[in-house]
Symmetry: C2
Subunit: 292 residues, 2 copies
C-alpha cells in the first residue's frame, strides 16, 4: 500500500516495499525557547535553517508545528509552511492539535500534505477528516480514543480500523491513512516496547496500512537515548513501521535507519550506505581542515 | 525452550524468555597473528586476558577456538579451555572443525559445554552427535548440508529439523540443540538479511529452538560495520535469536544488545541499562583522570 505525499515539485512515496521515510521533527517550538520566541515575532530564519539542515541530513519530509501558547497559531503555521517551502521541496507534515491551524495550513500548502494527526475520538474524526478530504491530503491516525491509550494491541488495532473506516466514509482512501500504533516509554512499563511492536505486527498483517510513530518516545527518561532509539527503529521497521517523525541530525538515528534499510533489502549493493559513509567522512575531513 | 550450559560453578540459561546471551568470540586465532603465535607456543596469557576482558564487557559465555595451521589443535584447544577456566566461570563454547579437537576439549571440560558446531551433513552428524551425547553437552546445528547454504528459508528450516531429529536419535533432547540459521553478508546479496530473518521466524514458529548466529557476517565488506551489526542484532532478537557469538568489546554491539533486551521486555525498569551506562561513565571518568 503506497501513500504518496508531494510538494509543488517533489513526490515522496511511503511503502513497505521502499526505503524508510524520515519526517524531520525539528521545526517544533515545544521545548525550544529561542525558536518559539523568534516564531512568535514572525521571524522564520531558524525555521528555514532547520528545514535545510534536516533535508541535508536525510529527511525526506518535514513536520511543521507552530504550537506556541498565546500566539496566533494558524497564522504562524502558515508562515512557517511558506518559509519551509521557500528553501526545500520536501513535502510537509502539518502538525497541530488546533483544527483551525490545520485548516489554515492545508489551505496555504501547495501539494499533498500529511496531517498530524487525528485520533479515534468522535469529535476529532468528525472535524478533521472532512478537512483532509477537502484538501486531498493524507492523515496520521493515532490508535487512541476518548478513553486514552490501551495497553492491549488488539484494542489499538480496533481503533486503527475505526479511523480507516471513518476516513472511508468521508471519501479518504485507505492508503491515505498512516496509522500511529503509539510508542510509549519502556522506563515506565517494561512491556511498552513489546506492546507497540505487537500492535505494529497486527496492523501490518490485518490492515496493511503504512505506519509512523514518535520513535523517540520509547527512550524517554533513560540515559543514552540515541542508542535506545537506534535499536528500536530497526525492530519497528521489521515489524512494519514505514516512516517516523524523528531527528535525522542525530547520527545514531540517521545511521540506524540507513543500516536497517540495508538489512531489510532496501539498499541494493549497499549503495546508499556506502555513499552516506563517504559523505560523513568527507564532512569530518572538511571540519578537521586541510591535511598537513 | 531452555538450553542450560554450565561451568563448574556457574549456569547460563539461553531462552526466548530471558535476556540475550552473548558468547564472546575473541578467543580465536583466525586473523590474529600474535595470538596464533603465542598459542602455538603454548603461551595462554593472552587467552586468559581475552577471557577476563570479554566477561567484564558483558560476555555470558566464551567461544574457544584453537584452529592454527600445522599445530596440534586438540592439545592447544585443551590448554586454552583450561586457561579460560582458571580465570573465569563463564561456560564455554568449544569451537573446532576437527572432530578430534572437539573430543579432546569435551573430555577436558568440567561442565556442560556448547559444541560449535554440527551441520546437516551426514558424516558430520554421525561423528559429532555421539560425542555431544557422551559428554552431556549441547550443540549448535548449522542449517546447511553437503550441497551448501540454501537461500530458501524453508530449506534451511528443513535442515534444522533434520539435525534436531538426528540429535534425538542419538538421545540428545531438542532443547540442547541451538540452531544457527546462518547470517550472510548483505553486501553480496541484498536479500541476505531478509532470508536470515525469515529463517529465524520460521524456526521460532515451527520448532521453537534457541538460535545463535555469527551476527557480524551481515556487515562483511561494508564500511562502519559496528553500526550495521548493532542494527541487525535488535531485529534478529525480535525474530527469535536468543544468543550470538559476537564481540562484546565493541561498544555498539554491547549497547545494542542491552537496548534490545530493554525494548523486548527483558530489563525491568531499565535497571541493567542504567547500571551499564553508569559503569561506562565511571570508566570514562577514570580514564580521564581526576577532575581539576
Amino acid at each position: 500500500m503506497d501513500t504518496v505525499l508531494s510538494s509543488r515539485s517533489r513526490e515522496v512515496v511511503v511503502s513497505i516495499d521502499r526505503p524508510f521515510v524520515i519526517i524531520g521533527e525539528r521545526i517544533n517550538p515545544t521545548g525550544r525557547k529561542v525558536l518559539a520566541a523568534e516564531m512568535k515575532e514572525g521571524r522564520m530564519d531558524r525555521v528555514r535553517a532547520d528545514a535545510i539542515a534536516q533535508v541535508a541530513a536525510g529527511a525526506h519530509m518535514l513536520d511543521i508545528n507552530a504550537g506556541i501558547p498565546m500566539a496566533d497559531e494558524p497564522a504562524l503555521l502558515v508562515a512557517a509552511i511558506r518559509a519551509v517551502c521557500e528553501v526545500t521541496d520536501a513535502p510537509v507534515c502539518i502538525d497541530s492539535s488546533i483544527v483551525e491551524a490545520l485548516e489554515a495550513g492545508l489551505s496555504a500548502y501547495e501539494g499533498k500534505a500529511l496531517v498530524n494527526s487525528v485520533t479515534a475520538e468522535e469529535e476529532r474524526m468528525e472535524r478533521i477528516l472532512p478537512l483532509v478530504k477537502k484538501h486531498g491530503a493524507a492523515v496520521i491516525g493515532m490508535a487512541n480514543d476518548e478513553t486514552g491509550i490501551s495497553m492491549v494491541p488488539e484494542e489499538r488495532l480496533a481503533l486503527a480500523r475505526r479511523i480507516i473506516q471513518r476516513a472511508a466514509d468521508h471519501g479518504i482512501p485507505q492508503h491515505d491513512v498512516i496509522i500511529d500504533p503509539i510508542a510509549m516509554t519502556v522506563a515506565a512499563d517494561p512491556l511498552a516496547g513489546q506492546i507497540t511492536l505487537a500492535t505494529m505486527k497486527l496492523i501490518r498483517d490485518e490492515l496493511g496500512n503504512n505506519m509512523t510513530c514518535g520513535a523517540s518516545n520509547v527512550s524517554f527518561g533513560l540515559p543514552d537515548r540515541p542508542t535506545v532509539n537506534a535499536a528500536f527503529l530497526p525492530v519497528a521497521m521489521y515489524a512494519g513501521l514505514t516512516c517516523a517523525i524523528t531527528n535525522p541530525l542525530i547520527p545514531e538515528v540517521r545511521r540506524g535507519v540507513l543500516a536497517s534499510d540495508l538489512l531489510l533489502g532496501h539498499d541494493e549493493y549497499a549503495m546508499k550506505w556506502i555513499r552516506a559513509h563517504r559523505a560523513e567522512q568527507a564532512e569530518m575531513s572538511a571540519k578537521a581542515g586541510p591535511a598537513q
